[in-house]
């Protein structure tokens, strides 16, 4: 399969801090690629760097189109959906308004798929997003990213963070379905979740890429898992 997203020599700064150092990787079209690493390795910064939300140098190509000189809104309009770490729903707006805001004029929308995946959102359309539970807010956040049919890839940052185990299960199931429609680059601390969903893995270590390959190879090799993720146990351990 061809590379949908190509990141090359990405350096990112947050204020005066130089966080990413020459990060390069590719994301294949279709399925889920996990972006892993210890706390502070630069996973969220990588997503924000790709989206042009932080000062950066290097190249980002989406389906061969250069994105490195574009503003965030233009990058997103070329087909990237973003689900941020803290969900960032607009708490004062209703669920329906949160979704309406994500609609891009002139683009085909897929409310049918969104409501099939998250029927609860249709029932709670007029409820203020700030009054939803964490799991429901995560649904809104994923639905916003999925709504535009033109999105080629979703950048999803720690979708299970802070959620109850039962809710994690439903979010994982939903992401599994979502990955049938669109490519996902998934930042996930929970290695069990990443392993369930992803085929490929990229591991960041102190702002640089430490591993690129399949997630099975990473987890099956105790030395690789210990070195890159600090795991002492084998396959399926949480991180």
């Amino acid at each position: 399969m061809s590379a949908l997203l190509n990141v090359s020599d990405l350096d990112v700064w947050i204020g005066e801090s130089h966080v990413l150092h020459g990060v390069s990787f590719e994301v294949r079209e279709g399925g889920v690629t996990a972006l892993l690493g210890r706390n502070g390795a630069g996973k969220t910064t990588t997503l924000r760097g790709i989206l042009g939300m932080l000062t950066r140098t290097g190249s980002v190509f989406l389906n061969g189109l250069p994105m490195d000189r574009m503003r965030t809104d233009r990058i997103v309009r070329h087909g990237i959906g973003y689900v941020p770490e803290d969900r960032d729903v607009f708490s004062e707006l209703t669920v329906a308004e949160n979704l309406r805001l994500a609609e891009r004029p002139g683009q085909e929308l897929q409310y049918d798929i969104v409501y099939e995946l998250f029927p609860e959102l249709q029932q709670r359309a007029s409820q203020r997003a700030g009054t939803l539970s964490g799991g429901q807010q995560q649904m809104v956040s994923i639905a916003r990213a999925l709504l535009n049919k033109g999105n080629r890839i979703l950048l999803i940052d720690e979708p299970t963070k802070g959620l109850a185990p039962l809710v994690v299960r439903s979010v994982v199931a939903a992401l599994g379905r979502v990955s049938q429609f669109v490519t996902i680059l998934l930042v996930e601390q929970n290695l069990r979740v990443a392993h369930l969903l992803a085929r490929d893995a990229i591991v960041l270590d102190q702002g640089s890429v430490g591993y690129r390959g399949t997630i099975n190879e990473l987890i099956d090799d105790p030395e690789l898992a210990r070195h890159h993720l600090g795991l002492t146990a084998g396959r399926g351990a949480g991180a």
């Binding site: 939300m53 809104d73 997103v76 309009r77 607009f90 708490s91 004062e92 308004e97 994500a102």
Partner: protein, 291 residues
């Protein structure tokens, strides 16, 4: 009783002026986090633009002159705000200190320019006969200009509420007040929304500038600056980005001012408004983040 009615209506008329200035200021700060010290200058520049246009029409046709002057002021405020945002503020979005300096500089320069062109002396506005007359309400003889201001401010409030609640740009503004970065991450060009909000704010300030001339009977170069101070207080006392809160705060600030200036002593009302601001910040400390 008639004195109280007069004070209430006059206070609400003054509150209407505060609202017209503060509504734009609140929208601009809420969405763009730009503390626009030049907002008072927009008020002044637009008032003089309206006055200049009205003066081209024979004084015998006062109603037409006043109406065209009003349109000129609204348009003048909108154009001045558009230019201010696109030329001076847009290059400084990531530099808040630079924004403060440039808006303070623009305010000083604009007022100085107006003084150089028109002089310091107040300029009389030609008012239609109806506006110079009074209407008796509950025994109080109320100048019609006060009633006009209240009606116009209510209409502007209604239009802004429709804009915010019923249009896509309103949705963008309401979301942008909460989390501007996330609005951009949804693929929305926030800068276009900034320009529109800034221009609408300028138009409201222009309307306020011309109506202030109608309220006081004349315009002068310093009116915008003094109005801006009270508008800042209204923005803090009212809730950030809330037009209804802004309207209520404008009415409360103006009524407190009017009643205490009348029943206590001149100046006590103005001082009390500052105390009201302190009280609002104590009760709702987050209000401090609004300015």
């Amino acid at each position: 009783m008639s004195t109280i009615v007069l004070l209430v209506v006059t206070g609400l008329g003054l509150g209407a002026l505060y609202f017209l200035v503060a509504s734009g200021l609140s929208l601009i700060w809420g969405l763009m986090r730009v503390l626009n010290f030049a907002h008072g200058a927009l008020f002044t520049v637009a008032a003089y633009a309206g006055w200049s246009i009205a003066n081209t029409i024979p004084a015998t046709d006062a109603a037409r002159a006043w109406s065209i002057g009003l349109l000129g002021a609204v348009l003048g405020g909108a154009i001045a705000a558009f230019l201010l945002e696109t030329v001076l503020i847009r290059p400084l979005y990531a530099r808040p200190v630079g924004q403060v300096l440039v808006t303070v500089g623009a305010a000083l320069a604009a007022v100085a320019l107006v003084e150089a062109m028109y002089g310091d002396d107040p300029k009389q506005l030609v008012l239609p006969a109806w506006m110079s007359a009074n209407t008796v309400i509950a025994g109080a003889s109320i100048p019609n200009t006060r009633l006009l201001l209240i009606v116009v401010a209510l209409a502007v409030l209604g239009l802004l509420l429709i804009l915010l609640r019923k249009t896509r740009y309103g949705l963008i503004v309401r979301a942008g007040v909460e989390n501007r970065a996330m609005v951009e991450a949804l693929g929305i060009n926030v800068h276009r929304a900034f320009t529109i909000v800034f221009t609408i704010g300028g138009a409201a300030a222009g309307l306020g500038g011309y109506l202030a001339g109608t309220y006081f009977g004349y315009i002068d170069p310093q009116r915008g600056t003094s109005m801006l101070i009270f508008a800042f207080i209204v923005v803090v006392v009212g809730r950030l980005g809330s037009m209804t809160g802004c309207a209520i705060a404008a009415a409360v600030v103006a009524l407190v001012q009017q009643f205490l200036n009348f029943y206590a002593a001149a100046g006590v009302g103005d001082f009390s408004v500052v105390l009201l601001l302190a009280l609002a910040l104590l009760i709702r400390p987050r209000g401090a983040q609004t300015l």
